[in-house]
């Protein structure tokens, strides 16, 4: 491994919440970064402990097993990402119609950019079909899918959705986060840093435009052609 990617400080390490909590938080932060960058199997507990700057075996002591530690990492990451997501999405509390879906898409992409670890880990688990996949799908992915489904149905009812199936729409939405997840490749390939704020905004706007047509496009030629 080269180096652990920087991760936003959503788990305070300085908070005076007791020594044990501080240790746990340091480990969770390092764990999220390591699981995202290396995958479950290649991210060893010893490596995570070293990255967190704590002594060997503390993961075993605090969580009992690597698997339980991983689940706690996911819960923390999802919690933090949801906070970020809502911070943007809630601005649309009074918005309706296609604008509503567009806000959702922008919020989702911004949150994905702030926590690329999530997409990384989902990609790692989503292709593997081990026990962890069922756990994370049921606990964290299903609600997101349900929300997307509802918003897309709303948009369709209003005749402002593109002609597209839910799975294609869903994977087009989550898949574009590859730009953030593959930041090293993106830097190499395009010479830009996709994690800069300006780049994030541009990407979020572009994908929102891609997924939700402008009002001006809502004409009978292209819309509501679904049988």
């Amino acid at each position: 491994m080269t180096s652990l990617s920087p991760i936003a400080a959503f788990l305070p390490v300085t908070e005076d919440a007791g020594a044990a909590t501080r240790t746990r938080n340091k480990l969770l932060r390092a764990g999220i970064a390591a699981f995202a960058e290396l995958g479950y199997h290649a991210a060893s507990t010893r490596l995570i402990e070293t990255a967190a700057g704590v002594k060997r075996n503390l993961i075993s002591y605090h969580w009992g097993s690597k698997d339980a530690f991983w689940k706690d990492c996911i819960d923390c990451l999802v919690g933090a990402m949801m906070l970020e997501f809502r911070a943007v999405d809630d601005q649309a509390v009074n918005v309706d119609g296609p604008e509503r879906l567009r806000f959702f898409v922008r919020a989702f992409i911004r949150a994905s950019a702030k926590y690329p670890e999530m997409h990384s880990i989902m990609l790692d688990e989503g292709k593997r079909n081990e026990d962890r996949l069922a756990w994370i799908v049921e606990r964290h992915v299903e609600p997101v899918k349900a929300r997307v489904e509802q918003l897309l149905a709303d948009a369709r009812r209003m005749g402002v959705a593109r002609e597209i199936d839910l799975p294609s729409f869903y994977y087009a939405l989550v898949g574009t986060s590859a730009m953030f997840t593959m930041a090293p490749e993106c830097r190499m390939l395009f010479g830009i840093d996709p994690l800069e704020d300006a780049a994030i905004t541009r990407h979020a706007d572009a994908i929102a435009r891609l997924l939700i047509p402008d009002q001006s496009l809502a004409n009978p030629l292209t819309m509501k052609r679904r049988k």
Copy 2:
């Protein structure tokens, strides 16, 4: 690991090309599947050898190192994928204009569906910035990016491209293959098998429609607004 995903037989194991070649091909097929499913670090040479049904240490014998073996796997995979890609893309040899870009997108997505291992491996390496990333970007990714860039520029010149930056377009294109890469998650989440031929066609068409506007959309309101 649960099981290695089935992989198309682009490397014949029955060809009478000498015992050594047959052994090498069996290992390459198993290696591609394992690297895609588990990632470089978690896919051990012993596991790959077992999956290939050959004796221990034959990777070391034939390639000298795991790294050299990985590179050979990638070259084989890219070669096979390019064959599949051209089989579809070459149908557009006489096509021009926006249809040309649409053919490219469909061909790319069909090839990605047939060889989801490619996307898997790119995601694995693209986030890690180890030596292998520079190797694969320079050798295999750059040409694809250049082709996309050229086609997008052509489409723009004709005024039929969406208002979008190259990186966003590129990662929207490659990112949607997440549906195939995350086939286990997709089955769990949507109850459909994304690797079925009908599903592939639907997805490819949907994404092509998403990325390249219909001719009817080429109006001054939405087009050529780029400064």
